[in-house]
């Protein structure tokens, strides 16, 4: 977005952590992605071997560095050479010779390789350090402006001023519902009771979502700093990060980061030599989707069964141990330090096309799109830009059919809305939902009834079992969808399913059950003919479902 | 004008609902004055008539024979009543549903049999995979739950129907 005002200039990257460090300033840097996706393809071994090979080759002015997610996860393992703008894809531990040669000959002459739209159309705020800094190195973080915001807040702002800044920035919760962050902070600050708590929701349970994981793996200090600023703003002294145990790398980096931050005086007592104290503990979730729901998450931290409870009272008033509790998503916290550093105005100017949605949103692009991976875009960017410019279009040039956003409570948006802006309100208008940022692109090989069944299966398995509409309703809805997919349903069954879906949505206790029927509603809204084809013509237009032979007695 | 015709059939049930019908006692006489009982396990007719106005169906749809019979009955009946819990919910016959037919037979005819351990084959109609409530097979017009439904409820319902009123089944409940 060209109208975006530039952020304040940042010091040049410090190189040389985790890999091989040059004696003087580095001529070029090999930034090896060490986030989960590339690590799973041995990028940690690549980091080690490349360091050795660079040393063997006597390249004393080359730094080899561990960095976080470089974004194009599907093309990993990735190595970036920031000085020349080169991105090396699909590197393996056995194909490092060409990399060494490239590093030998690379000359940073200010002439960077033109960036592909995948990168150039992104606006990076929450992920600004991602792929640039060493995620475990607190000095590297500070060299990139880290902890400037916290210092500024502690030394020159009152808690009310901080809340006001966040409110004016227009930041809204990135965990799903998009509740105003400043308003939430103010509610917690004004709530009676002490101590107060700050919780970071890192449970990230949506199928296919990995935005929060990447932030934690690539720039954990940023989340700690955001939480510390929040704690100051709501006058809390204890914090928890609730992270799913399936994210071992994120958990390890968080623990390292917390330890380093404590040693460097950015956590613990007397932070940054002021009288503000705040500490953070990590709590592991066992991977139940529902534990991402805030009241279930709190129950889980308290050591109880992770099931939601009716709200009100909201956690802001009565949360952890019954005390006022601020709970925000990882990405929400990841935006905070940038807002403080650059000002509320700067942030709210980003994504001006997004109406009441300000700033940026991180999405995990998945499905039938060429560039799958992690992207951060300004609010209000059109779906078409995301799918075709950033995503590189549909695999094999097939026709675009729909994009699914919002995870299991979300919806499918058909091609006719490709030019709609992606923001909270617009997504709701077309029957979908921002959610935490999963974005699954589908082409004509996807059956929309099958898609609805997939998400219902997920909700059915993840229902906590507390309330009958969700516990029983999702199972019944799943069976009805299954019956349609196998060609055994009648039009009366379809009617019955719609009726039940509406009741489950209305009467369920928490967002899981209330949102579970959404994939049914949105696919029916745009693809009803596919349901009818399964029922009346007994065919699956996309050729996905196996229709049973006709003679089954009803 | 001829009197309306009334029939009752019996699928997979215990006959308790029919007993309860008989418990309407002397009111039965009045009912048979207002309607012709043209087919029932308690009368002699062998063939279900081509057209019946009101038919009470006791029992769940459990076997191929039940299935055949209920489809025929539905075709020939104006007002079909699911009569009693077995017809309404599948009730006791439905208790086999979670088990499935093969393990059920194994238990009943092999494991628990003392002599002549073998599965029934030719004479009895084949069981359907599950015992189903009548309305999951054909359209049902009136439901009268109860195991069995109380005689007063049966009478009141028939009284309403024969008088051309929408039947009031308030007070009917599953079980007793």
């Amino acid at each position: 977005m060209s109208e975006m005002p530039a952020a304040r200039p940042r010091p040049r990257p410090v190189t040389g952590h985790g890999g091989a460090a040059p004696e003087g300033p580095a001529r070029v840097t090999a930034s090896v992605c060490c986030a989960a996706s590339c690590v799973s393809a041995q990028s940690d071994l690549i980091l080690k071997k490349l360091g050795e090979k660079v040393a063997e080759a006597g390249l004393s002015d080359v730094a080899v560095k561990r960095v976080g997610c470089l974004g194009l996860c599907a093309a990993g393992p990735l190595i970036a050479i920031p000085e020349t703008g080169r991105l090396l894809r699909g590197v393996t531990p056995d194909t490092l010779e060409p990399v060494v040669e490239e590093l030998r000959s690379a000359r940073p002459n200010g002439h960077k390789e033109a960036q592909e739209p995948f990168f150039s159309k992104q606006v990076r705020v929450a992920t600004e350090n991602m792929g640039t800094i060493d995620p475990e190195d607190i000095d590297d973080y500070q060299a990139h402006g880290g902890y400037e915001a916290l210092r500024q807040v502690l030394t020159s702002m009152t808690p009310a001023e901080v809340r006001d800044e966040i409110t004016r920035s227009g930041l809204r919760g990135r965990g799903g519902a998009g509740y105003g962050t400043g308003l939430k902070w103010t509610t917690v600050a004004k709530a009676q009771g002490s101590p107060k708590y700050v919780i970071c929701n890192a449970d990230e349970g949506d199928p296919g979502a990995f935005m929060d994981r990447s932030v934690l793996e690539s720039d954990p200090y940023r989340v700690l700093e955001g939480m510390a600023i929040a704690a100051y703003a709501v006058e809390a002294s204890e914090g928890y990060i609730y992270c799913r145990a399936e994210y071992p790398l994120a958990v390890a980096r968080l623990r390292t980061a917390i330890r380093n931050a404590q040693r460097s005086g950015f956590l613990g007592s007397a932070i940054a030599e002021t009288n503000f104290s705040f500490d953070i503990q990590v709590r592991l979730g066992a991977g139940a989707f529902v534990c991402g729901e805030e009241t279930a998450l709190i129950a889980s931290i308290e050591g109880r069964r992770g099931t939601p409870r009716p709200r009100p009272p909201y956690p802001a008033v009565a949360g952890l141990w019954g005390k006022p509790t601020l709970i925000n998503n990882v990405e929400t916290y990841a935006n905070v330090s940038s807002i403080v550093r650059n000002g509320a105005q700067w942030y709210s100017n980003i994504g001006a096309a997004g109406g009441k949605s300000k700033g940026t949103k991180v999405f995990a692009l998945a499905g039938r799109v060429v560039n799958t991976g992690l992207v951060e875009v300004p609010m209000g960017m059109t779906l078409r830009e995301i799918v075709y410019d950033i995503g590189g279009g549909i695999v094999d040039g097939r026709p675009f059919k729909a994009v699914q956003t919002g995870g299991p409570s979300g919806g499918c948006i058909p091609a006719e809305y490709l030019d709609m802006p992606v923001d909270y309100e617009s997504l709701i208008k077309v029957g979908s939902f921002m959610g935490s940022g999963g974005m699954i692109i589908m082409d004509d090989t996807s059956c929309m009834v099958d898609v609805a069944r997939y998400f219902m299966d997920f909700c059915r398995e993840e229902s906590c079992g507390k309330c009958p509409p969700c516990r029983v309703g999702t199972t019944e809805l799943y069976r009805m969808l299954d019956k349609i997919c196998s060609g055994e349903a009648t039009m009366e069954d379809l009617e019955e399913m719609e009726k039940l879906a509406a009741i489950v949505q209305r009467t369920s206790l928490c967002g899981l059950g209330q949102g579970a029927p959404n994939p049914i509603f949105s696919t029916l809204r745009y693809f009803r003919d596919e349901y009818v084809a399964h029922i009346v013509d007994r065919v699956c237009p996309a050729g996905v479902c196996t229709i049973k032979p006709a003679e089954v007695a009803r | 004008m001829s009197k309306p015709t009334l029939a009752t059939v019996w699928l997979d049930g215990c006959s308790g609902c029919h007993m309860s019908l008989l418990d309407t006692d002397e009111r039965l006489l009045e009912l048979t004055e207002r309607a012709d009982l043209v087919y029932s396990p308690i009368v002699d007719t062998k063939e279900f008539p081509e057209h019946v106005d009101v038919c009470l169906v006791e029992g769940a749809v459990s076997s191929e024979e039940d299935l055949h019979k209920i489809k025929m009955v539905r075709e020939r009946t104006t007002t079909l009543i699911a009569f009693g819990d077995c017809a309404v919910t599948s009730n006791v016959p439905g208790m086999r549903n979670p088990i499935g037919v093969p393990p059920l037979f194994e238990r009943a005819y092999i494991e628990n049999a003392t002599t002549n351990k073998q599965l029934p084959s030719s004479v009895v109609p084949r069981l359907l995979p599950t015992a189903r409530p009548v309305h999951r097979v054909v359209k049902v017009d009136v439901f009268l739950p109860g195991c069995p439904p109380d005689a007063d409820l049966i009478y009141n319902m028939l009284d309403d129907l024969l008088a051309g009123r929408v039947p009031n089944v308030a007070g009917a409940r599953f079980g007793r």
């Binding site: 079992g465 999702t474 009741i503 009467t507 | 599948s90 009730n91 979670p98 195991c147 007793r176």
Partner: protein, 237 residues
């Protein structure tokens, strides 16, 4: 000093003190709101959703048992729509397990069965789930038949909050959710169960019953437990 709020339920003017729930005030005023998971004397959990009411100005339904009253609230506790929801919830509970009232030990003493009758349910449109669930009859005096359990968790709460034994708990989730004794051990091997029988008395259905009782003979009304529970919990504060 407690503040008194005045508000309306189904158009009727009512008053309550600030710490009361909608359900409590409704009961005091003779307005019947159906409940299943609620039990006087143990903590409410707002789970069964039967007591949901509409509050003017809110687009969400509120469970009467856990929602605090507020000044000027306009509450609808009975409407055609709410009746439809409640019937659907009762129906889902029937479909979830294998409820065969005719042969149930709690026949005619069952809150679920009565609830169906009171809401005019004469049949079920949803397909039955017919799960395979078991019976644990290993306890000397009592048994649990999961075919009849509606997961109200009254047993869990009364055992924990009143008896203090915490024998009962919940395992698994979704449609697989089950109440369990001693983390999944057979009830008869429980080392925490005091055999007080409170769980059996509070169970709304025939899921928990005294052994040796025939069909329809599992009356739960012989011991006046419920008022007792309320008194105990009030004394404990």
């Amino acid at each position: 000093m407690t503040t008194v709020f005045t508000f309306t339920i189904d158009g009727q003017a009512v008053a309550g003190s600030e710490d009361q729930t909608i359900l409590e005030v409704a009961e005091e005023n003779g307005i019947d709101i159906p409940t299943l998971c609620h039990l006087d004397g143990v903590k409410d959990r707002g789970a069964c959703r039967l007591c949901v009411v509409e509050v003017a100005g809110s687009n969400k339904l509120a469970p009467a048992c856990t929602t605090q009253i507020a000044e000027g609230m306009e509450i609808t506790a009975h409407s055609d729509r709410l009746l439809e929801y409640r019937r659907a919830i009762i129906e889902m509970l029937f479909m979830e397990r294998n409820h065969v009232c005719a042969v149930c030990v709690a026949n005619n003493h069952c809150e679920l069965q009565s609830m169906a009758e009171e809401h005019g349910l004469t049949h079920f449109d949803l397909p039955p789930i017919s799960p395979v669930v078991g019976i644990d009859a290993s306890h000397r005096l009592f048994a649990i038949d999961h075919n009849r359990c509606i997961l109200c968790l009254r047993c869990v709460r009364v055992c924990d909050q009143i008896e203090g034994a915490h024998t009962w708990d919940v395992m698994q989730r979704g449609i697989e959710t089950r109440v369990v004794t001693d983390m999944g051990k057979p009830w008869g091997e429980s080392t925490t169960c005091t055999s007080c029988g409170k769980c059996v008395q509070v169970c709304p259905t025939g899921a928990l019953f005294e052994k040796g009782r025939a069909v329809a003979r599992g009356s739960k009304t012989r011991r006046p437990y419920l008022p007792y529970l309320k008194v105990v919990s009030e004394e404990r504060g």
